[in-house]
């Protein structure tokens, strides 16, 4: 019986296995702190992108409110995990407590906010979810006993899980060790998401996306799957936010901005809407692009290399490329990088995954 294995083809399986080996070896081989940090951010955001893809790509619900749930997860981690003596003080709880709760709590908030938001569709949902970011930012700013207010808070929860301390495994640096935690979570998230979308709940989500009325007629509870997708997406955003904050080591309310939400939407667009790998590929693209641009900045025209020189600054150039990528992918390849990946993985002749003209 086809379609019961995790991978669409043998080639796809081999590519994925190679990728896992590559990721595991990365922190040991690549000694550059810069590239370690970049990949840490990529991993942390990939989790949120996979989550958003479940909501937007597979269930068809637009959200610009992702950053709010990232913030919730980050502050949950800070409040529960930070040392008790700090300012603002945390609870000093261990990793196995704060990390799951950093996903659960935003997931629960998603369940509470969801019913109101999901009555709305398309344009309305986009704007209202945007409101969530602004309202959230205000709350984060005011709740200084947890968030440190506008001054922000350091993020220093315990990273020890039993005998393994992800702040320094053996003789490895913090970033090297953290790499295994972050990318381990990426692996779990991707696997879970892949399983979800190929079984009953994921199929129901896609039915809701494709045709709500028909879904209801065959007995799929539209509300249940919209809400479920929203809660899962919020929970994964929380997990993503917690790890993102740990990598950053310091967060302020301004971190969880509309711009961050847009980055996540860009990730799934560029990576591939409605595909499991799309979130990870997109996070890699969005996170890696600025570094690649910086590396080659000397040979890019119009770029100012010193502050006094006229022309585009690097951050400006990055943002512009970023905007152009969103527009370009949507206009030219709405199925994103994942479509290119699928094409590469299926050249062996096993055409199990069908080409999908447009994801939504």
């Amino acid at each position: 019986m086809d379609g019961l294995s995790l991978f669409a083809s043998r080639r796809s399986r081999n590519l994925t296995l190679a990728l896992i080996v590559g990721v595991a070896a990365y922190p040991l081989v690549v000694r550059s702190e810069l590239w370690l940090t970049v990949l840490l951010f990529v991993g942390a955001t990939a989790i949120g992108a996979v989550g958003l893809n479940l909501l937007t790509g597979f269930t068809g619900q637009v959200s610009l409110g992702h950053a709010f749930f990232l913030g919730l997860g980050a502050y949950t981690a800070c409040y529960l995990g930070n040392p008790t003596g700090g300012a603002p003080a945390g609870r000093g709880l261990p990793l196995f407590v704060w990390l799951p709760l950093a996903a659960l709590l935003p997931g629960l908030v998603g369940l509470v906010v969801g019913p109101a938001a999901l009555r709305l569709k398309g344009n309305y949902l986009a704007v209202v979810s945007l409101g969530l970011v602004f309202l959230g930012a205000h709350v984060f700013k005011q709740w200084s006993s947890v968030t440190g207010g506008s001054d922000g808070t350091s993020v220093a929860p315990s990273l020890a899980l039993g005998p393994v301390d992800f702040a320094g495994i053996g003789g490895l640096t913090r970033n090297q060790s953290l790499f295994f935690l972050v990318w381990g979570m990426v692996g779990l998230t991707t696997l879970g998401s892949r399983n979800l979308v190929r079984t009953r709940p994921g199929r129901a989500m896609q039915a809701v996306r494709d045709r709500e009325v028909a879904a209801e007629v065959i007995g799929v509870s539209v509300a249940r799957y919209k809400l479920g997708a929203f809660a899962i997406s919020s929970g994964l955003a929380g997990l993503s936010g917690a790890l993102y904050a740990v990598v950053l080591t310091y967060v302020e309310p301004g971190t969880w901005s509309l711009a961050l939400s847009i980055q996540f939407v860009a990730m799934i667009i560029v990576g591939g809407i409605g595909t499991t790998t799309g979130g990870v590929l997109g996070a890699l693209f969005v996170g890696g692009l600025p570094e690649v641009v910086r590396h080659y900045s000397a040979s890019i025209p119009f770029v100012a290399r010193t502050a006094s020189e006229r022309g585009l600054s690097l951050p400006q150039l990055n943002q512009i490329l970023f905007g152009l990528c969103i527009v370009g992918f949507l206009v030219l390849e709405p199925r994103g990088i994942a479509a290119l990946w699928a094409r590469a993985a299926h050249r062996s002749g096993e055409h199990r995954v069908q080409a999908r003209p447009h994801p939504l």
């Binding site: 704007v127 205000h138 152009l324 527009v327």
Partner: protein, 298 residues
């Protein structure tokens, strides 16, 4: 009492500017069914072009505004022709994201050309103030109200009597039927982008006049105007104006009274007030106060 009147006046003026921005959203929404997130970008382009025409090239103020309005309208049409036309038939979400992508590009290109410094628009009003029985009003704000009134009247006349205005209304009701009647959907959509560009320019100029100044962050007014259109209903020009005024007033009154009477809501609560109002209204009426029910089906 004076404080209340002053707050109402300043809220009305701010609300009028929201309304002007919101009208740009509504025009494009009526023709295409999508919120144009790049409206703030058009506003930036229009405002900086006005600055260039007036201050750099030395044109008199009003001709400069006219030129910038025309150029921004053309920019809007060009963006529609080159990018958004290719998105016809794509899901709402995808089109929204394209406009967001465009906004991101404009937000960076504008300061790359004109810098981040706040520039003086050198408008004819400056910081002159008028006084009515103890209530002070900036002269440029009086003009802002006048501009909003004129634009509003023009848009209403356009929708009611103009050939394309009627076409646009027909498109909003039933795109296929409208096209079957020989209405050129392409022209209507392009035109809506042109109008949005023009309206955005006027809003930007009135925002930047006087003590406002021209700076690349002026597009945030578009974000604040979102609640206005949600409140008013995405497809209703009257709704945009009422929504804009409601948001402006609620913001001004919150700014005036909340720090003393509801301090627990925190400093700067007035900046998020539009979104609070929006959420409350949507909980009661999912299609806004004046919106057509169908809009929710997006």
């Amino acid at each position: 009492m004076t404080k209340l009147v002053e707050l109402i006046v300043s809220g009305t003026i701010r609300g009028a500017l929201y309304a002007l921005v919101a009208l740009g959203f509504v025009v494009i929404y009526k023709a295409t069914g999508v919120i144009n997130f790049a409206q703030g970008g058009l506003l930036l382009i229009g405002t900086y072009l006005t600055y260039n025409a007036h201050v750099t090239w030395g044109l008199p103020f009003w001709p400069a505004v006219g030129l910038a309005t025309a150029l921004t309208a053309l920019t809007g049409v060009a963006v529609e022709r080159t990018v958004l036309r290719r998105m016809a038939g794509q899901p709402v979400f995808a089109v929204i994201m394209v406009t967001l992508g465009l906004l991101i590009v404009v937000q960076q290109v504008v300061p790359a050309i004109w810098g981040y410094d706040r520039l003086n628009l050198d408008d004819p009003w400056g910081v002159r103030r008028l006084s009515f029985g103890g209530i002070h009003v900036d002269l440029k704000d009086v003009w802002a109200l006048a501009v909003v009134a004129v634009v509003l009247a023009a848009l209403f006349a356009f929708f009611r009597y103009g050939r394309y205005g009627l076409a646009m209304r027909a498109m909003a009701i039933d795109q296929e039927a409208a096209m079957a009647q020989g209405i050129s959907a392409r022209r209507v959509v392009a035109l809506s982008w042109g109008i949005a560009g023009a309206v955005a320019t006027l809003a930007g100029v009135m925002l930047a006049a006087g003590s406002g100044g021209v700076d690349p962050a002026k597009d945030v007014i578009a974000l604040a105007a979102f609640p206005a259109i949600i409140l008013g209903g995405l497809d209703s020009p009257v709704g945009a104006v009422v929504g804009g005024l409601a948001i402006g007033l609620s913001q001004a009154l919150t700014g005036g009274y909340q720090p003393d009477h509801a301090a627990f809501l925190g400093a700067g609560f007035d900046t998020v007030m539009p979104y609070v109002v929006m959420v409350l209204v949507l909980l009661a009426r999912p299609c806004g106060l004046f919106g057509t029910r169908d809009v929710v089906r997006a």
